[in-house]
Symmetry: C2
Subunit: 329 residues, 2 copies
């Protein structure tokens, strides 16, 4: 079943949601030539959307928070796309199920689009696929693109951090909430949301968090470029919409901060560098995979010699790169 | 403070635990030339250890399970190294603290070595660093190397799966236990451990898991090479050592299965291919990083043109690779 990418791109230009959904499937499937075609066609139309990252460990209520934020942004007249990045495998099919369960409140609204995405096709995973999915949503004309990820693995953190504004969600009563939050996401937070703040322990959690932030601030030193923005902490009960006014205010303040300091341009540029590098790495991975799948004699022989301990893996990697660059692939 | 890698390698050869610990810090720090030196020197001495992966979401009791397994393996006369891979950032310093908290029961035993590792120095992260740390532990002569990771992100799953036998731990009462377990780790499990089996809901959890496994088995089809081994499910209360006899039996059965079918060789070879490729990718990443940090005119110009939307990221990536391969870096 060949996908007619040209037709989908035309459909997207006409504002067809179905074309948008299918283009995201093209991104998810990760066929190299189709990806290249989609990005090349849509990239000139990007740059409008504000990208908001939402991350945190499982169970803190990220999707409820995201849905509540989408509701508020809609009320302010903004169109919203949500990309819920799901590290599930094709085996579980979790992403598709999730989409149906969510979005109950928005299903009649054409200016909200929610999509879960797994990283099934491509070798580079989320770090590679997510920015391209965001480009498609941006090109589709949404004012805000919310990227929601489980902030536990390093790829997931990287993905969420690659936003204009990154919200880190934690919750009281989740034993590992702060522990998981430590896993690289404290540094990337532009704001913290303590969700489920009606549960006991929200005050204690906030104190702990403030302690960790002060420690980090002391460590980072005076000339840290982030230090001009001290990440605010907002308490919410997202399921009832409580605290969402404050979340919206924080988003606007941070957007203003980015604009005032030329920081938004810096982030756009950092995203460009990130995208270029991840795509270049993916090209290298694809060449290696071709080595691999085709039973390429170069990699076969290198693997044999490593297994036999005639070559160490570094020496083998050098020869693999030589073969690659010599065009023997 | 230059590290005298030669002296450390000599110390390791004499069985000094301090040298082992410092070589693991060298791996963790990720200075390219030192990594290369350590791996080249130690690789010929590897291949003895059985590598056991232990993965699962936060809170299921992975470290308790790992410690209980270490105790049993020691009782069977085997020496054990544990590598607890911690995706924490340098900011949190979680890894160092964790080492002190753990290992209470083993601190007087020279044949148990436990080490947490963050992935701070290198660009390729856990997928790159962990196999090299395992090599160091293998070369140090341990019979078993247990690699423990939080099985949520894709890198973490990949790391755990890169073992001879992979145990996936889940627990009742953890809302997201199975949900997280779906995230790519069902396929990689050689056995499941339902820990905290004395809590309510262990039976229900086991039924759900069996249902998912049957679904996966049906999907995978007849000729799936994994289908000859149906992953057993063991219930444990690791904190009291309950069920650990069964865990040991499953480890031995799976080791036997690998040996009978020549599957262990296949896994050793797959690890070699993985290591070669990850190291080669790291070399490419290092060259890109050099572009990046040095304000290289090639990447600067490409980023400018992408920000200006004159080039799309794919076209820019092509030019970056051309520059790299043309030796302009």
């Amino acid at each position: 079943m060949a996908v007619d990418v040209d037709a989908l791109l035309t459909g997207l230009g006409r504002g067809e949601r179905r074309a948008l959904a299918r283009l995201l499937t093209v991104i998810e499937d990760g066929r190299p030539e189709q990806l290249r075609q989609v990005v090349a066609a849509l990239f000139p139309q990007t740059g409008h959307a504000r990208v908001i990252g939402v991350t945190g460990s499982p169970g803190v209520g990220k999707s409820t928070l995201t849905d509540a934020a989408a509701t508020r942004l809609r009320a302010a007249g903004r169109s919203v796309a949500v990309l819920a990045v799901d590290p599930s495998s094709p085996f579980s099919g979790g992403a598709l199920l999730g989409d149906r369960v969510r979005m109950q409140g928005h299903h009649a609204d054409p200016d909200v689009f929610i999509r879960s995405m797994a990283s099934r096709g491509h070798l580079g995973g989320l770090a590679f696929a997510t920015p391209q999915a965001v480009m498609v949503m941006d090109a589709a004309g949404f004012d805000d693109v919310i990227v929601e990820t489980v902030g536990v693995g390093q790829s997931e953190v990287e993905v969420a951090a690659n936003a204009d504004t990154t919200l880190v969600a934690i919750a009281p009563g989740m034993g590992d909430s702060i522990q998981a939050a430590k896993a690289g996401i404290l540094e990337v937070a532009d704001a913290f949301v303590i969700n489920k703040a009606d549960h006991g322990g929200a005050g204690k959690l906030e104190s702990e968090l403030r302690g960790m932030l002060e420690l980090g601030h002391a460590t980072a030193g005076e000339d840290d470029e982030v230090s001009a923005w001290w990440p605010p902490i907002v308490r919410t009960v997202a399921v009832r919409g409580e605290g969402m006014d404050e979340v919206m205010a924080v988003l606007d303040q941070h957007t203003q901060h980015l604009d005032d300091r030329g920081e938004r341009e810096r982030r756009v540029r950092a995203r460009a560098v990130h995208a270029i590098r991840e795509i270049a790495l993916e090209q290298v991975r694809l060449r290696f995979a071709r080595f691999d799948r085709g039973g390429d004699p170069v990699l076969e022989e290198l693997a044999d010699r490593v297994v036999a301990r005639e070559l160490d893996p570094y020496a083998a990697a050098d020869r693999l790169l030589d073969a690659l660059e010599g065009g023997e692939a």
